[in-house]
Amino acid sequence: MSIELGFALYKGLYLARRCEEYIVRHYPDDEMKTPMHMSMGQEAIPVGICHALAGKADILATYRSHAPFLAQTGDHGRFFAELHGRVTGTADGKSGSMHLSAPEAGMLGATAIVGSNISVAVGAAFANERLGTGRTVVAFFGDGAVDEGTFWESINVASLFRLPLLFVCEDNDYAVHTPKSLRRGYASLTAIVRGFDCLVYEDESNDVETIYFLTREAIAAARERRCPVFFNLKCCRYLDHIGIAPDGDACYREPDDVQSWRARDCVATQRARLIRRGLSEEILADHEQATDRAIEISIAQALAASVPAPDRLYRGVFHETS
């Protein structure tokens, strides 16, 4: 991979990571009154995939969608405004952390009901295929969503209809706080999904470049075969299911488990790789400082922005008639 592309991926990782680190820093100020499910630790997946499909995919995400949103849009200004409940946010201050969207950037929404975005992604892919847009749809979901019936309805019908759709299971081992060992009556998810007419890929690298190339390869193969793709990508959420506490602090999980993942952190890995390839520490540090400043400005602007006026309460409940 070229240094330029590797750097672009690093920028995506760094933005997602730093935005959440700033959230961790400022959450106790209680200015962001919205339940947050942090992406921290899992950034390589959305950053690798969204960059691989840049401009050619619609994505649908879950309540753990900070990294997918930022990877798809790069828009930390509206991101922080929305987290602060301001009119300058993505949704007029009506979505908070769990329903980020940006239709102009192909971010078709994040929902807070586990698994509910998957069939919507099937429909979006159905429309893209029917209307000949040439766009792929990506459905991000966790391994918990695979326990839901709607996942199986969706993988079945997407395979049946041969839709241009990438199912991305961000496999962080936990549904809220329940490990897979307590949830699955089978040994291998991918062994089952291979029974459908779709392409199945597994990856445990947690590496953004690997995921980037895997996506390119899979989408090319899927176009050839005219079928959907299923990704099972192992990852680790560093923080608790919800909120900003480190996940290893809780009783349900071994601290060593999270520590072993942190030892091969996707952001640090990519940074070290760029240095090895010859990118200077100075260039990296300049970018990091500029990003930090930009994020700080976004937070300051969010705090200074207006809260929704009372008349916004009823606006958009029903769809207007054209």
């Binding site: 949704a91 979505s95 069939s119 159905f126 029903f318």
Partner: protein, 368 residues
């Protein structure tokens, strides 16, 4: 359109089913982005005859057979709507739509609001209410209030072919959000004569959106607010009572999510008496909501307690002896009207001995 006198005569008689078929056919002809999605839409029965042959004529990219996947099916419609199609989703029983409640309530109803107005999800969801011939607890439910309870959903209950044609054409051509229509299976076989001129000031010919209530009959003695097939029953009762100098005003609620409050309040202000006849349970339902409209705005206009008819507060039983008790019949309705208007029973009025409404609509013979 053929507007010769012969064609007009022919067109003025139409079954509920044929109006539904016409609405589906017209949707596919007039709007290239319309798709019909559901389990059974291409089978030989075609959603009780309302999609028969459309799969062959318009192809599998317009009329889409799906596996049994109610939630997934509605999710697909939502995603397809997001990316530019107009989906029509079918369920041959409203009860089955409970499997799709997550998509309807948590997503479709909120997809505009919770994203700050960025998205449109235009779609029509057709649900069929079952009744009689042992439909039982899981093939007979009428969930209008469950949907209408949630802000963001338009819920309609067409009671005539005219209402189907107008409302569906309007929804598909003009409305950019989810519309849920509850069709009544018992009316499918009924032939209706269309009135040449619309009676209702809120009918779409006058330019008002058809997502509201309709005045169906004028009368001075009692206001009957009814839904779906209960509108037909109210009309039958009104015709039998008119010779006895009891004049019923009938309002077809038509759109439980958007009742015409002024129409109801003006009527009750004139008659002083209100009877609500709904296809579902009374508690927390249409009956309760219409009472809320009156009690919360002008309780003083009522000169008597409100009368209400609906399903008995039990799951629907299958034995005909129990099923006949479960639903109100014409006799119950007329008796309730007479008592409300005259303050008691009137032996001079011959109440019908029809034990079951379903027996009257005899063309219906199951199994669905």
């Amino acid at each position: 359109m053929d507007e010769s006198p012969q064609a007009m005569t022919a067109a003025s008689i139409q079954t509920y089913r044929d109006a539904l078929f016409e609405a589906m056919e017209q949707a596919l002809i007039r709007h290239d982005h319309t798709v019909i999605i559901g389990q059974g839409v291409t089978d030989h029965k075609g959603i009780f005859g309302t999609t028969i042959g459309l799969g062959e004529r318009f192809g599998p990219r317009r009329v889409i057979e799906t596996p049994l996947m109610e939630e997934g099916s509605l999710g697909i419609c939502l995603g397809a709507a997001l990316n530019g199609l107009y989906p029509i989703n079918t369920h041959i029983r409203a009860d089955f739509a409970f499997l799709a409640m997550n998509q309807m309530i948590n997503l479709a109803a909120k997809y505009r609001y919770m994203f700050g107005g960025l998205f449109e999800v235009p779609m029509l969801v057709r649900l069929v209410i079952g009744r009689s011939w042992g439909q039982g607890a899981q093939h007979s439910q009428s969930p209008q209030s469950m949907f209408a309870h949630t802000p963001g959903l338009v819920v309609v209950m067409p009671s005539t072919p005219e209402a189907i044609r107008e409302t569906y054409a309007y929804a598909i051509a003009h409305h950019r959000g989810p519309v849920i229509s509850l069709e009544h299976r018992l009316m499918y076989e009924l032939a209706f004569r269309s009135d040449p001129a619309p009676q209702s000031p809120s009918a779409s010919q006058s330019g008002t959106p058809p997502f509201t209530s309709r005045l169906e009959r004028r009368g001075r003695d009692v206001t009957i607010v009814a839904t779906s097939i209960m509108v037909l029953e109210a009309k039958r009762a009104a015709e039998r009572l008119a010779p006895h100098d009891i004049e019923c005003e009938i309002i077809d609620l038509h759109c439980p999510s958007h009742p015409d409050r002024d129409l109801i309040l003006d009527s009750v202000a004139r008659t002083g008496k209100l009877l609500i006849a709904d296809t579902s349970w009374l508690a927390y339902g249409v009956a309760a909501e219409v009472c809320r409209i009156v009690a919360g705005t002008a309780p003083h206009v009522l000169t008597a307690p409100v009368a209400m008819l609906g399903m008995q507060p039990a799951p629907c039983p299958t034995a005909k002896s129990l099923e006949d008790m479960f639903y109100p019949n014409l006799r119950d309705l007329m008796q309730a009207i007479v008592r409300l208007v005259t303050g008691g029973d009137n032996p001079a009025i011959d109440l019908p001995d029809e034990r079951s409404m379903a027996d009257f609509y005899k063309t219906f013979r199951g199994p669905f």
